[in-house]
């Protein structure tokens, strides 16, 4: 029994951390229509900056500032925000597909930097030895797991409430207005480029926060955490849950991460030993099928956006229409 609770605590913690990143993406894509193909770049920056600020001293490498954990978390989030600002200046004015590819490239660049710049990031071996907040006082790992889950849930609740307020505020309406029709928004005297940049940076800050929580949870970060597959996972969560709907974003995280984990478990428990060796490959195929199937069956997600002003996600795109739109 305690094993099940222990695993559930673990599962919920990682799901909640990922859900925060999905909320950040929902602000960018769901509400503003910015296609960020490099979620992992901001997630990873948040994680690395946090670990460097609050982490241990490393011989011959940068870091060991011993900053208090909450401050380091804020630092990590800001780091992600600054990266987004620099990147956004160059890319948010681009058309969607260009933006997707440019941000995809940023994720690769961040990973490459983390892998090679040993002085700053520890190189491929990563940074270990992070002291988790209050770990010294809570020695029982089971209790500590529950404690950390509480922290993560508190953060996700805060982010969720803040985003809900934001979405309902005039700024939120402006974001959707720009998503729907940039020209119309401009004719009303708004500055779409600036507003898009704001939303992009804000979303990145939220992803950076998730990254910080992630690195704290594992007390370890390495370039392997920055593989492009994470971007794909986060996107899958948002699309399955329903872009534009914060609750959908969270629900999608549960469903996708749950399926990802459960399919691994199911294959390892039920597949015969000879097939076990191929389980990982089969799992990827299943996940690919799940996502494509979901897009075909319910393109607007499990919990579609409620303020159904959007026309962009279910109207057919004929080449003619798309030419005008872009």
């Amino acid at each position: 029994m305690i094993g099940i609770i222990s695993y559930l605590t673990f599962f919920l913690t990682i799901t909640a951390v990922l859900a925060i990143a999905v909320l950040g993406l929902n602000l960018q894509w769901g509400n503003t229509g910015i296609f960020n193909g490099g979620v992992v770049a901001f997630f990873g920056t948040g994680a690395y900056v946090m670990v460097i600020l609050a982490g241990p001293e490393r011989a011959g490498e940068f870091g060991g500032f011993g900053l208090a954990w909450p401050l380091a978390m804020i630092g990590g989030a800001l780091g992600a925000g600054i990266l987004a600002f620099i990147v956004g200046l160059a890319t948010t004015r681009l058309r969607h597909d260009y933006l997707a590819i440019a941000t995809f490239g940023i994720a690769v660049a961040v990973e490459v930097f983390a892998r090679n710049a040993t002085f700053w990031t520890g190189g491929a071996k990563g940074i270990r030895g992070f002291e988790r907040p209050l770990e010294a006082f809570i020695s029982n790992p089971f209790v500590y797991g529950l404690f950390y889950l509480t922290i993560v849930l508190a953060v996700i609740l805060l982010v969720y409430l803040a985003l809900e307020r934001l979405v309902r505020s005039p700024f939120g309406r402006l974001l959707r207005a720009i998503r729907e029709d940039e020209t119309a928004a401009r004719s009303l005297g708004k500055y779409p480029a600036r507003v898009r940049l704001q939303a992009f940076v804000l979303g990145a800050i939220i992803m950076g926060l998730a990254g910080g929580l992630y690195a704290t949870f594992y007390a370890f970060i390495s370039p392997q955490d920055l593989a492009p597959i994470l971007t794909f996972q986060i996107w899958a969560m948002l699309i399955v849950g329903g872009a534009g709907n914060n609750r959908g974003a969270i629900a999608g995280t549960f469903v996708v991460w749950g399926c990802w984990v459960a399919s691994g478990w199911a294959l390892s428990s039920f597949a015969p030993a000879d097939v076990q060796i191929y389980a990982g490959t089969l799992q990827y195929i299943l996940i690919g099928l799940l996502i494509v199937g979901m897009l075909l069956a319910k393109p607007r997600g499990l919990l579609p956006e409620k303020l159904a002003v959007s026309t962009h996600s279910f109207e057919p795109v004929t080449p003619a229409k798309a030419t005008q739109a872009s």
Partner: protein
Amino acid sequence: MIQALFDGILVGSILSLGAIGLTLVMHILKFANFSHAELLSIGAYCALTFDTVLAAIAPPMATLFSPFSMSAALALAMLASAAFTGGTAIIVDQLVFRRLRNKAGALTMVFASFGVALIIRNVIGLIFGLNTQRYSDEISFATMVSADPLLLIKPDQVAILVMALMAMVALHLLLTRTTLGFALRAVAENPTLAQVNGIPLESVVRLTWIIGGGLAAIAGVLYGIDNQLSPVMGRDLVLSLFAAAIVGGLGSVSGAMFGGFIVGLASSFAILLLPAGYKPAIPFLVILVTLYIRPNGLFGETR
């Protein structure tokens, strides 16, 4: 220096072939197809299968044309594979992208293409195994063309370059000398007007996939000859292909050709300036610089 120039052109020619198909699809179907690079893998593995079969049926065909590590069987296999890959691309379109075109946004398709890429890559891994493979295990030795500055060229490299250029010329003729080519260009220029003039959209879409898939297959085979086959080769090439397409400007065939060479050269020269570990980020830097200077790519129309 001159070595980097030559190597860059060679890699560039392969990227160009892949990027041409990608740019056409992105332009006519309006979505960034992340699964395009997997067509290279399909083509490469398909040719491997045909090659093995042909060599078994008619062993003389498997004799290598010295000093090249290519055989008649492989040449035939490459053509068969181009047709097969074009067909596969149409099937994937019918199964996934066409359905989404009718009911979802372009970005849903981008995302679906991620999923398709994942499926194709792992199915290949399941069928052919995860190990790397080659068409010929012979090593083709380089000839030293010049000692200082150092220039080493392998016969295979010349052959690959020639084949890539031949494929590009063939495509150019197809686009400029045939009715189909006119229809395709018309749709690319102005889809509505093209339809008004009685050009059937769906058949142009099919043609796009055949061209894109066929060129991708040839690129995949050439890549396989130059390097090796692996189920994840598509994943490794995807960013470079996108970079080539974007640098050239979407929809521009000559742009994609040119873009491929730029990306190839940039990766090849990068090592002179940066530590080798940073090489994977080069295509991205090329994209960023291009978009910063020309947001629609070098040959793209301003919108």
